[in-house]
Amino acid sequence: MTIAHDFAYLRPATVPDALAMLADHRGAMVLAGGTDVVPWLRDDAITPETVVDIKDIAGFDAIDVADGVLRIGPLVTFSDLIASPVAAEHVPALVEASHTVASVGVRNRATVVGNICSAVPSCDAGPPLLVYEAAVEVAGPGGERSIPVLEWFLGPRTQALAEGELVTGITIPLPGAHGGCYAKLSRYRGEDLAQVGVAVLALPGNDYRVAFGAVGPVPFRAPAIEERLAGGGPGDADPAALDALVDEAISPIDDVRASKEYRTHMSRVMLRRSLAAAAARLDGGGPPYGEQVI
């Protein structure tokens, strides 16, 4: 099936050029890896008059560290992140999540920024970016702004980007020593979306950050769970109390991929295992990154 409607294809070389095009063509769709945009075009889920391909913008494919901040450009693919020693050193849980995204042929094209711009509730980049307290850097008609990932996801397939704005990167303050974990429940390796995603960061001093994906309208942090865990080892919290906090935090749906009950049960199991793995990794042990805990 071909893409039925016609659109103009533009290819800016700079951010100012891209912003001018977005200003001139209201409703234009930005194209990076295209692994979501192209199927949407084919399905008529979107019918933009203009598509703005940002792949010629210099520097957009960079992963770098400066002044204590890791920056991921909007053209950085999941494969780029997996191959990056800098990412492995500073944000191993995000790299672990990258390994779970679809398959090699999609990861070679799909970008991390695109993943959170599509903002599906099951997006694999969402929970790790939440626990790393990343920010989305945006340029637009009103200048530049930085949106904390905590405020980025507004609803299923909806994020905080305004008309005419362009994401210019994701920034992550270097977390320092930590153990991380991303666990993904899916039916098979390959193309499946997460039925549950759990990201955990264990920081020195029994400080934990916990985020869930695919069990609510948006990926989200779970502050009540973090407070309960604070100050103790991962096994110190009463398991029944922890399960109850998980049940309160999540709002899973029934769909073709999994039932509400299954998602609930697995959210509890995955939180426990991710906590144990993250805490062990903080201490230099635990399963190697990339080895799924479920």
């Binding site: 893409i3 192209v38 199927p39 090699v104 042929g105 070679n108 094209r109 193309e191």
Partner: protein, 158 residues
Amino acid sequence: MKHTIEMNVNGEAWAVDVAPGETLLEVLREKVGVKSPKIGCERGDCGSCTVLYDGKSVRACLVLAVEAEGHEITTLEGISHDGLTVLQEKMVELSSFQCGFCAPGIVLSVHELLQERPDPSADEVKEAISGNLCRCTGYDPIVDAVLEAARIGPGDRG
């Protein structure tokens, strides 16, 4: 609005007129005349349209042809123009495929893996082809052929 794109397909320079809405898969099959990338799910799930894009496997159904300006595309035809590769020979020998619809995509996915990891583990092979659906074989004879080909090495045939 038509765009004239220049790209390299299997070592040949091509200039093709394309509309923005045409996918690389459609243009390869209908305008360049390369038929090994198959039209399967057309949403990036099945892997049967896999091609190498600057040496990296991508889904040709998820790339607009107009994006390919200046890029190098390799299809199955491009890696076996001097005859079958060792990998393909082992796949024939071990009856890796039945209907063969998934074969071009799987050969290219494995080709990419073997370029990066000449001696992969069975798990790495499974990961490399996890985005290529095969509904005939259950994958085992494919994985066996890859491991066997890796053991022998590519020799002078890539």
